[in-house]
Symmetry: C2
Amino acid sequence: MTGTIEFYFDFSSPYGYFASVQIDDLAARFGRTAKWKPIMIGAAFKQSGNRPLLEQPIKGDYSRHDWQRLARLLDVPWVLPEPFPIATLAAARAFWWLTASDVALARRFAQAAFHAYFADGRDISAAGTVAEVAANLDIDAAALLAAVQDPAIKARLKFETDDAIKLGVFGSPFVFVDGEGFWGADRLWMVKRWLESGGW
Amino acid sequence: MTGTIEFYFDFSSPYGYFASVQIDDLAARFGRTAKWKPIMIGAAFKQSGNRPLLEQPIKGDYSRHDWQRLARLLDVPWVLPEPFPIATLAAARAFWWLTASDVALARRFAQAAFHAYFADGRDISAAGTVAEVAANLDIDAAALLAAVQDPAIKARLKFETDDAIKLGVFGSPFVFVDGEGFWGADRLWMVKRWLESGGW
C-alpha cells in the first residue's frame, strides 16, 4: 500500500502536538508518507457542537493531567501555554504558503511551530512570533508576514478546513488512512493496526 | 502490583461493552483483578456537560462507524440496539444486588446484560428483560425484580455513581489503575503500558 496518510490538526491542539511527534515514523514504518494538514478546528467545532477541552468541567481537569502524562510517556517537552487555546491562523496560513513550494520545509516549520507553543510556551497566535519561528529555519520573515495576509493563502486555509469538515473531521488530530478516519492521538494504535492489516 | 483495577461503565455504553470484553484478560495478564462498577453515566454527563454521542452532529456518524469497525476488530457481536441509548437502572441495580453475595456471578450477569443489549438488541431498560437475562444464569427472577425496587439497592447505585463522579469519571468506560484514571475503550493500550511499567 502506498497511499499517503492524511494528518489533520490544529496548531493549538495538544493532542495534535502529541500525534505530530509520532505520525511520520508511524507512516514510514509502513512505507507511507504523512501529509500534514493544519486546519482551523474552531470551524469544525461550530458544526459539531464540540468545545475546547478546558472549557468542559471535569473533562478539562482530566485533559490537563493527561497531557502531562502523555508528554512523559512520549518523552517530549510540554508546557500548558498561556494563553490557551489560541487562534492559529498565522501558523496555519504560513504552513500552506510554504507547502506550495517545499513540503519538507513546511513540515519542519510545523514541527517548530508546535514546539514553540507547547514546549517553549510562546504565543504563536501572533504573526510576528510565527515569523521568528520560521526565521530560525531560514524562511524569509517579511515574505511570511505578507503571505499570511495574502487573500489566496487565506482562501487556501479556508478551503482545507471546509474540506476537512466535509470529510467528517470534528477534532484534532484526525488521521485518514485509505479513506478510513481515526480521531485522536490515542487512536494511533488503531491506525497502526489498519496499516499492518490493510483494514479489517 | 496486586491492586484491583476499577472498571466503571454504563450498560448503555458501546465503548463500555467493547472494554468489558477485554478488561478481565488485560488485568489477568498482570496478576490483577478488574472490579466491575456499573454506574449511571447520565448523572456524570449532567456534571460535565457531556452528551450522548448520537446526539452530536458529525461525531455521532463517526461513532456509529467506529462501533462497527471495533466490533470487527475485537471479533465480538454487535448491533446498534433500538432504542439507544437507554436508562439502565434495572441492570445496574441488579448487578449491585448480585455483587453483595457473589462477585463472579455479578460479573457473568453484567457480561450477559451487555450481550443482550449490544449483541441481541434486546431492550434491557425493562426490568422484566433484565430478569430474563438473569434467569439464564439461574438467578431468581422474582428476587431480582424485588431487589431492583429495594431502597437500599437503589441507594447503592446512587452512591457508586456519586462516588465515581467525585473521582473524576465523566464518561464510559473509565478505568482506574493505582489511582490513575483512563477514559475510553481506546485507552486500554495506555492502561496496559501503566500495568507493564508500574507508571511513568
